[in-house]
Symmetry: C2
């Protein structure tokens, strides 16, 4: 199934939560440490507990790369645990000159088999094109991110009076010929979300920054509902996977994503 | 030894060539394919042939990641072949929110043990800070890249009339408290190099784009020599490592880097 179709079908069921698998040996419950593969056991428990409720899973490459080749193996094994009809996101934030981006695309889309990836726009269109050539995948390009320093460059004002991130959104709209583009827009920027949401056109939106970073799931839902728009996902990592350091961690993850889905149903119906 | 000291000492010897290990199974000489580890055998031959002449080695992560965990193993094994006194660059172009950049820094600087890394500036200072905290490493932040689409965003004109990449260079200068910052500036942008070189201050400069991409090693040398400046390296990948698909590939690599070093000696003395 095409990446976009997977997501749209979950969105139609009013599922908007992307579970972020920022899996860290220092944060998983202690009883798992004695397992042969503690991190995989953790991911399996979280996926099993949330798969009926999740719109997508996002794997944050940094947490796995810190373990070297073992981490890359862990990504492969984790992907095998995710049901085929749920969108998988390689949160890898890649972007390089053409022949190098081709190799990154090969890694993420072919070697690992992800449905989608996050990308840095800085180097411009030819650094993104190798990813766009995969018409059945989804490419989330950074627009306005959730961190405080997003003001440093993303919010630079251009000579025509617009912000850099707005220029990027407008470029990504032009790159969307294969209907395989999306943007990353931090949930911490609620005012900017309201002001810019119409410019997103039919781009899929991935919103990180809810929970530990201060964004509100409910506020984001309301903005999209007001626009009659369902084509988005809100990533939550720490706010779902690390609710307890006890054996009940996966049960609490399940309850939390159910609560979020109920909230979405209330707002959207 | 601190990363910067490694490089400065090579620069003092008038060595400015960074050998780019963009190692690709489809491009290495056929006779190596029957080796148990063809890619490692290729890297070993290139490193052995060039180590007396190289100022640095740059490992382009994409080419290794395309192979998954095996590629990450190959990076580790390749690093072991590089003499300790030569700068190693993880050309990984990372950059993410703070807690994620921390994990990337852990991967590249601690797990792999690289001396330096290339970074995307788009998300701003807090996305770079975790790398800056390693005071003995070197962080090359993208300023103006060598690809054609660098015009898309890097050359956007800001409201104060400067280009975005100039704003980034000025920010990186401010981030350079630990003397562990550098910039990436494409050798294809010779006019911009001449116009901006004074703004680089004491930032180390990594210049890709010579050879296959159209930049000239000689032209770059002359610009730096005119400024009485030695703190830079020019990356060459395809123009050194893929000069022949025959058994003489490493001999030709050696001759080419010697030729380039001779050119540097002629210009700088």
């Amino acid at each position: 199934m095409k990446a976009l179709e997977k997501l749209l079908s979950k969105n139609e069921e009013l599922k908007f939560v992307c579970v972020g698998l920022d899996t860290d040996l220092n944060k998983i419950p202690e009883h798992l440490i004695k397992e042969e593969e503690p991190l995989l056991a953790f991911n399996k428990s979280i996926i099993d507990a949330t798969k009926n409720f999740a719109a997508a899973y996002k794997i944050n490459f940094a947490f796995y790369e810190a373990l070297g080749s073992q981490g890359f193996e862990l990504i492969k094994k984790t992907l095998e645990l995710i049901p085929d009809d749920i969108l998988t996101i390689a949160d890898a934030k890649r972007g390089d000159i053409g022949n190098t981006s081709e190799m990154y695309a090969k890694s993420v889309f072919e070697h690992f088999g992800f449905d989608s990836i996050t990308l840095h726009p800085y180097m411009g269109k030819d650094s993104i094109q190798p990813f766009l050539n995969y018409s059945d995948k989804l490419n989330f390009i950074l627009a306005l991110t959730s961190n405080q320093s997003s003001v440093d460059f993303e919010k630079q004002i251009l000579s025509d009076g617009t912000f850099l991130y707005q220029k990027i959104i407008s470029s990504v709209n032009q790159w969307n010929k294969n209907k395989n583009c999306g943007i990353v827009f931090g949930a911490t920027n609620l005012d900017e979300l309201k002001l810019n949401i119409r410019s997103f056109s039919d781009l899929t939106v991935l919103l990180p920054g809810v929970g530990a970073q201060g964004g509100s799931f409910e506020d984001v839902l309301k903005v999209f509902h007001n626009q009659n728009r369902k084509n988005f996902i809100v990533n939550i990592s720490r706010g779902i996977i690390y609710l307890s350091s006890d054996k009940n961690f996966s049960r609490l993850a399940e309850k939390e994503i159910q609560r979020l889905n109920e909230m979405a149903k209330t707002i959207f119906s």
